[in-house]
Amino acid sequence: MTKMHVQTSINGETVEFLCSPQQTLLEALREIVGRQGTKEGCGTGDCGACSVLIDDRLVCSCLVFAAETQGAEVTTIEGIAGDGGLHPLQEKFLEHAALQCGICTPGFIVAAKSLLDRDPDPDEETIRYWLAGNLCRCTGYDKIIRAVQDAAGELAYQA
C-alpha cells in the first residue's frame, strides 16, 4: 500500500514521516517517530491515555489519522516540560502522589494542561468533568484532582 508523506510539528520540532492512510496518530507517534510517552489503553477513544494536543485542541490520538496532522502542531507529554524543567502540573503530580502505576499519567497531564490553558482557575467540578475522558484505575482520582488544583494555584502565582 502506498504510504503517505506527512510533515508536522511535534513539540515544536518539524518532523516528517511516512505512514499508511489508516494509521492513527497514536501509532505514528509510538511506532514511527519514537515518541512513546503517549500511551494506549483502549484504542477506541474511551480512556484518554493517548491524549495529545493538536493545535491546542485536546484529542485522543487513537482516534485521529496520522495523515490528518499534516501541517499541524502536535503537543505530546514529551513537550510539556519546558526549558526550565518540569511543568507545574508535573511537579504537583509528583508532590501529591497523583500517580500509582503511572500509565494514565501522561494523558492526565496533557488533558489537565489543556484545561488550565483555557481556564486558569477551575473549580473541582470543572476539573472532574474536564478529566472525565481520562480513566485512572489506581488512584480514585482524589490526588489527581488535588494536584491539578494545586498546579492551577502555582501557575496563577507564577503569572
Partner: protein, 752 residues
Amino acid sequence: MAEAIDLKYIGTRPVRPDGVDKVTGRAQFGADQNLPNMLHGKVLRSPHAHARIRRVDVSGALAMDGVYAAVCGEDFPSEVGGSMLGEGGGDLGDVARNIMARDKVLYHGHAIAAVAASSLEIAERALHAIEVEYEVLPPVLDVLEAMEEDAPLLDENCFTKNLPEKPDKPSNIASVMTLARGNVDEGFEQADLVVEGEYRIPMAHQGYIEPHACTATVNEEGKATVWCCTQGHFDFRAATAKILDCPIGDLKFIASEIGGGFGGKTVLYLEPVAVMLSRQSGRPVKMVMTREEVFRATGPTSGTVCRVKVGAKRDGRITAAKAWMAYEAGAFAGAPMGPGCMSIFAPYDLENFLVVGHDVLVNKPKVAAYRAPGAPQAMHAMEVALDDIARQLGMDPLDLRMKNAADEGTQAPYGPKFPAIGFKACLEAAKEHPNYKAPVPEGAGRGVAAGFWFNVGMQSSAEVRLNEDGTVIVMEGNPDIGGSRASMCLMAAETLGVPYERINAFVGDTESTGFCNVTGGSRTTFATGLAVVRACEDIIGQCKSRVAATWGVDEDQVDWQDGQAVPAPGVNAEVTPMSLADIAASMPKTGGPMLGRASLNAQGAGASFSINFADLRVDRETGKVDVLSFTAVQDAGRAIHPDYVEGQMQGGASQGLGWALNEEYIYDADGVMENAGFLDYRMPVASDLPMIDTHIVEVPNPSHPYGVRGVGETPIVAPLAVAANAVRDATGVRINDLPLSPPRIVAALEGN
C-alpha cells in the same frame, strides 16, 4: 517494639524515585519495548464459548508474504505439571491450555493459534488464513445452572474434590470447601432474630489501563529474553519454563514498568506464545493485546451467588452464621472460593458458623486474582446481612460490629489466633470521625461495612549496594505498581540512618537480582521491605567490622547511630565517628566493595481490617446513584509512605464502588461478552466520584521491624456492601444483587 522506635524517614511523603520518568513519558511500560528486526504477533481467538477443536491448520497463514511464524496448541509440550506460584494462578497445565487451547475451546476469546508477521496489519490478515474446524457445544454460563446434574460439562475428567466420598460422575463443580465451628442449629435456636438472603454479583474485570504486552527474542542456542508487564517476572519465568519445557536458566525476564495489575498480571497469557513465535522465526516478536482481548481473555474475577443466614440476640450478639457460596471459576478450576470462605466471617468472633464454598466451571474466561480475591463477594453478603440486623435492632451499625469484633487472641474462622489486629481501632476511629458524626444529607442514605484481607508474606530477596560516594542502591525484584520503590528507599533510609535522597531503588531483572515472588497479596512492602531492612542491617554489620579494623577495636565496640559508626558507650578510643560516606570512601583500603544481602520467606504478614462508610443519593426516577462522600478507615500497621497508603485506599474504594454500581460482564445466550470495551464496561471516571477521605489506623504488625501490614487489597472489600447499604438506607428498599445500576434500581423501586 515497633512503637518504641523514633522514626525519622518512615511516615514522610517524599517524591518517588521513579516519579520524574513517569510524569514526562520516559518510563517504559509493557508495550514500549521495540527491537531491531522485530515481528508483531497476534492471537486467533475462539468465536465459540464451547466447542471441540477438530482441526487447526496454520499453513495458510505461514504461506503468506510477511508471515514468519505460526503456532497452535499442538506445537506446545502436551504434558505440563506444577502450579503457578502467583496468587490465584492455578494449575500450570490449565494455564498452558488457557494460553493456547488444545482439544477444546472453553470460552469466547480462548486463544487457539498465533502468528508473527512483519507488520501488525499482515499479522491480523494472517489470522484469517488459519483454518479451524469446530464441533460447537452448548455453553453453560450461569453458576447455578453449571452446578446442575445435567449441565453441559466443560471437562469430562473433572470430579468434585473434597467431597466425603469420591464422586462417580464428573461435574462442573471442581471442588467444595467447608469451614465450621460450634453448632449452627443450636446457635440459630438461641437467636432473637434471624436474617437471610441470597446475593448475586456478576463477573468484573480488574480494569488496569495498560493491556498485556510482551516482547521476546530467542537466539540460536534457545536462550530467550522476555520483556513484559507483569506483577512477578520470576514467577512468569518459572511458568514459561514449565509450559515450554525448558530450563529456567535459558530464560531471562525483564519486568517493564507496569500499568496496573490488581492481581490480573500475576497470570501469564502471551509470554510463552511470544517465545514460541520467536523461536520459530528467529526474530524478536512483540505481542500487545487490544482492550477487547483484555476483556474477553484475561482477568476477570468470579461472578458469585452467596446465601447467608445470620442469627443474633437482641443485644446484637451474633449466635450463628451460615453461608453457602458458589464462585465462577471460568474455564478452568481455581476460583478464589477458598479465600472467600475464609474471609466472610473474619472480622467477627463467632461461636457457631458454617461456610460451604463451591468452585464452579463455566464457559467464561478463567478468573484471575483481583484485589483481595474472593473476599469482596463473600463479605458483601455478610455485611449486608449485618446491616439488616442493625436496622431491625435499631442499633448503630458500628456498635453492632463492635459487639462482635475480633481482637487480639480471637481465633480466626480460618484457624490461627489473631495477633494484634486493628479492627476495633478502625471501628472506634470511624465512630469518632467527623464525617460519621455529620448528619446524613437530606434525601441521601448512609452505608457502613467492614473489610478484611489476610495479606501474605512469601519469598523475597534484596541487595543493598554501597556506592563509592556513600549513596546507596537498593535492588529488589518486585515490579513497582504503586510507589513501592519509594517505600523501599524509606525503610532503607530509616535503617541505615541516611537521608532518603541518597538512596535509589531499582527493580532488577531475573538475572540481576535474587528471587522474589509476585507483587501480590499485599506482600511487597511487608516481605520485600523486610528483605531490604535485613540487607541494610547486613551492610551496617559490614560497616561496623571495617570501622572496627580501622580503629583497631573489637567489632562490638562499634555502634551504628544516625548513619554513622560511633564508638560504643564506654569505649575509650580517640576516634571520630565515620559516616556511611567516609566508610564508602575507604572501601578500597578496607577490603573492597560492600554489598548487603537478604533472602527470606516472610512469615506473619498481619491481616488488615477496614471500616468504610459513604453517603449516597439515589435518583428515584432514573435510578442513578451519586456518591456524595466516602470515608475509608483502615489499619496499615505502619504507613511507610502515607500518600501511597491513602492512594491504595482511594483506588480500592473507587474500584469497589465501580463494581457495586456499574461494572459487570454482560453475556448473550451464546456466551459472547456484549460489553468488551471501556465504553460499555463502565468504570468510574473523575466526575462520578467525590474526594475519598481516608483515615489510617496504625496498629503495628508485630512480625515486621517497622510494623508494616499490607494495605493494597483490603480497600476494595467494604465498598460493595457500603454502597448496597447506603442505597437501602436512601430508598427503603433492599436490593440484594449487584451492580446497583440504574435499571436494577428503577425495577426494584417500581416493584415496591
